[in-house]
């Protein structure tokens, strides 16, 4: 992934900050692609802030049914007044539950992604580097799991982990682990493919000649170079984790309403509301899911496009004249946009 900016301005020092995954791509992007990336980063940023500061932003608690004076909120109150987005059929404040829901979503994403990166990377590294029958068995298993409907697998895992009932911590952990089970094969495949490629590189061979131990080669030489695609996978999986969590919640396998706020569960409760024309109980939690997934996916998509030379929008040759461009006609010809 060599960059146009670096070749164009060879004397400029590239600082650590500029080499950080997302910052690097932001600098690399132009035009529409940059717009999509920035929009995604902003939405994701708002989501993160909401999740972190939920206790300060939310007007009420997620399981609060009465205000400070002990007066009940009332069920299915239309938006406005004390309840900006109305109340649910169970008498919860919709706005508060939407805000608190972001915290649950973030918690599940963090636990799920950390666990699946950890497990997937180690398995992929070992499988790719050591090879042999272990590699074959793991690949067949990963392929089988990969082809299976993620939601169904998550349901089975959720049953196994929590028996279908959940407390706050247990619920988040159960949802996260069930999502992890589903996503380990993806990390496994990517890291394994990279490992197999890197294994035959000259620097790995020279490390072997020098007498480095297998563990040192795996973690120092191979792993460091195999993590290139992780930021991309990370974003894609975060958005899928939210959708899976919401799907589980929608089927009643999420987190109980008294334990935490969860958007999928709220949507499930609102099915009958919709039929009677009560729209605010479904629209707002639904929009929250769409926005968060949209934001994270925009970031992921942009990273994906920037990593793929076929899809990367290049700067116009005139905007940043490459030093070689004057002398070489071939360079100009290879640029599809010129």
């Amino acid at each position: 992934m060599s960059t146009t900016t670096e070749t164009a301005e060879p004397r400029r020092r590239v600082t650590l900050w500029q080499r950080l995954p997302v910052v690097h791509q932001l600098r690399q992007s132009v035009g529409l692609q940059r717009g999509m990336l920035i929009a995604g980063l902003i939405i994701t940023g708002i989501f993160l802030l909401t999740a972190i500061f939920a206790p300060l932003i939310a007007p009420y608690g997620f399981s609060q049914l009465r205000d400070a004076d002990g007066v009940s909120f009332g069920a299915q109150v239309p938006p406005g007044g004390a309840h900006l987005l109305g109340t649910t059929v169970g008498g919860y404040d919709v706005l508060s539950r939407v805000i608190w829901g972001s915290q649950t979503a973030l918690g599940v994403i963090v636990v799920a992604v950390v666990l699946s990166i950890f497990a997937g990377v180690i398995l992929g590294l070992i499988s790719g580097y050591i090879g042999g029958w272990l590699d074959r068995v793991l690949v067949v298993i990963a392929d089988a799991v990969f082809a299976f409907p993620t939601l169904l697998l998550a349901i089975v895992a959720a049953i196994a982990i929590s028996g279908g009932q959940s407390s706050l911590f247990g619920g988040i952990l159960a949802a996260a682990i069930s999502i992890t089970v589903v996503y380990i094969p993806q990390y496994f495949r990517v890291i394994r493919a990279e490992t197999v490629r890197i294994k035959s590189e000259a620097y790995v061979e020279s490390a072997k000649v020098v007498g480095s131990s297998t563990g040192r080669i795996m973690f120092r030489h191979v792993l460091r170079n195999a993590t290139r695609t992780l930021p991309l996978l990370f974003t894609l999986n975060s958005s899928e984790a939210i959708l899976t969590l919401a799907g589980l919640g929608f089927l009643g396998f999420g987190i109980q309403p008294t334990a935490a706020a969860e958007w999928g569960y709220d949507l499930n409760r609102s099915i009958s509301d919709v039929t009677s024309g009560i729209w605010w109980t479904s629209v707002f939690p639904g929009l929250a899911i769409v926005l968060v997934v949209l934001g994270i996916t925009l970031v992921g998509e942009s990273l994906n496009d920037l990593a793929d030379p076929r899809l990367r929008t290049r700067r116009k040759a005139s905007a940043v004249p490459a030093p070689t461009a004057e002398t070489s006609a071939v360079l100009e010809g290879t640029d599809p946009n010129s």
Binding site: F146, A147, P149, I155, R189, L251, G264, G286
Partner: protein
């Protein structure tokens, strides 16, 4: 739900084929046989995984009826169902049953899972069929358009649309569609697969009923029935179809961009081939082959989405039943349905891979 990852990782279905050495000979028939044999380890792994996960919480009778029966009654039920035997014995027995087509019997209503497939499978199949039609009609032309107008504003709009399709959970899309078209505009039915009158008429068909309402309505020969069935199908089909349409749109766009930059397209353009023909014949056709493989992966996604769509629209298919059994905590039925779906996914992936091999000879090697 592995949409973008698919494009990044490459189609999984053809992976075993790709690993085989080139020029092995044998061609199509050999590919089909090898690919067919690969179904068995896949199914075996999934069945084992589901079995282990489901049994890790203990026996299904306690999970389902615990608290409602006395300890003695429970012990007796467990004993008569054979759940007190060593887990290995149960596992071997279960694998044997799967091969004879016995997917277990639901605890709550005593129905064999395979019978559920006969009763409700048609509905799920019908829903998946409508969804695929929506996905093709929406996804492929728009994907071509986006690729052709790359980096111009229609491309930007279409890409955001594709991401929105993916970012919207099917059940939320379903609820929104319901709200707008059924509750506010009152032009389409809220839920179900047909009105009660049509269903009554269909029951007159007796043994000729297929469970696929569109076919049954055509058999009835009544335009009103066909119209009624189609009206009920619009919203669920759209909700599930748009999800897949977004995937197709992005895939077609990426592939057409790839083929449009090929040398032979430049060569054709320099020969004076019209732009329309260029896109239609030179760039479009080779870009469609990967879609066939992706459809294979989409079947898994469609089935997952169908569970949610069916629950949203009370569409009485396999997914609806699965959700019902989940609520009833009938884990024998859940395990049976999930295993059954795993077999269906494995079989349909095989079929899709064979079709891809028939169309594109490169896949065979």
């Amino acid at each position: 739900m592995t949409t973008t990852a698919t494009t990044a990782l490459g189609p999984t279905g053809s992976a075993p084929a790709a690993r085989r050495p080139r020029g092995g000979g044998g061609g199509l028939l050999r590919f089909i046989i090898v690919r067919f044999l690969l179904i068995f380890p896949t199914i075996f792994i999934l069945v084992t995984m589901v079995f282990v996960l489901m049994r890790s919480i203990g026996d299904p009778i306690t999970a389902s009826l615990g608290g409602r029966l006395t300890a003695d009654q429970l012990a007796e039920r467990i004993h008569s169902a054979g759940y007190d035997r060593p887990i290995i014995v149960q596992y071997v027995e279960y694998i044997g049953q799967i091969f004879t087509g016995n997917f277990g019997t639901a605890i709550s209503d005593g129905r064999p899972v395979l019978q559920l497939l006969v009763t409700y499978g048609g509905a799920t199949l019908e829903l998946a069929f409508y969804a695929l039609i929506v996905a093709f009609i929406v996804g492929i032309p728009l994907g071509m358009l986006a690729a052709y107008l790359r980096d111009k504003w229609p491309d930007a709009v279409l890409r955001v649309f594709a991401i929105l399709c993916y970012a919207t959970p099917v059940f939320f899309a379903g609820l929104l569609l319901k709200l707008v078209f059924s509750v506010w505009l009152k032009v389409l039915p809220v839920a179900g697969r047909a009105s009660t009158r049509t269903e009554l008429n269909m029951s007159k068909l007796g043994d000729r009923r297929t469970g696929i309402y569109l076919i049954d309505a055509i058999q009835l020969g009544s335009p009103a029935a066909i119209g009624d069935v189609l009206q009920h199908a619009v919203l669920p089909g759209l909700a599930l179809g748009l999800l897949t349409a977004g995937v197709f749109l992005r895939l077609v766009r990426t592939n057409v961009i790839g083929t449009l930059s090929m040398d032979y397209v430049d060569a054709a353009r320099s020969r004076g081939v019209s732009e329309y023909r260029l896109v239609r014949r030179h760039a479009y056709k080779p870009a469609l082959v990967p879609i066939i493989t992706v459809i294979g992966l989409q079947i898994a996604m469609l089935l997952g989405g169908a569970v949610l769509t069916e629950t949203t629209f009370e569409w009485k298919g396999l997914g609806f039943k699965l959700a019902e059994y989940l609520t009833a905590r009938d884990f024998v039925a859940v395990q049976g349905i999930v295993t059954l779906l795993a077999v269906i996914v494995a079989l349909s992936n095989f079929i899709v891979d064979v079709i891809a091999a028939l169309i594109d000879p490169r896949v065979r090697y």
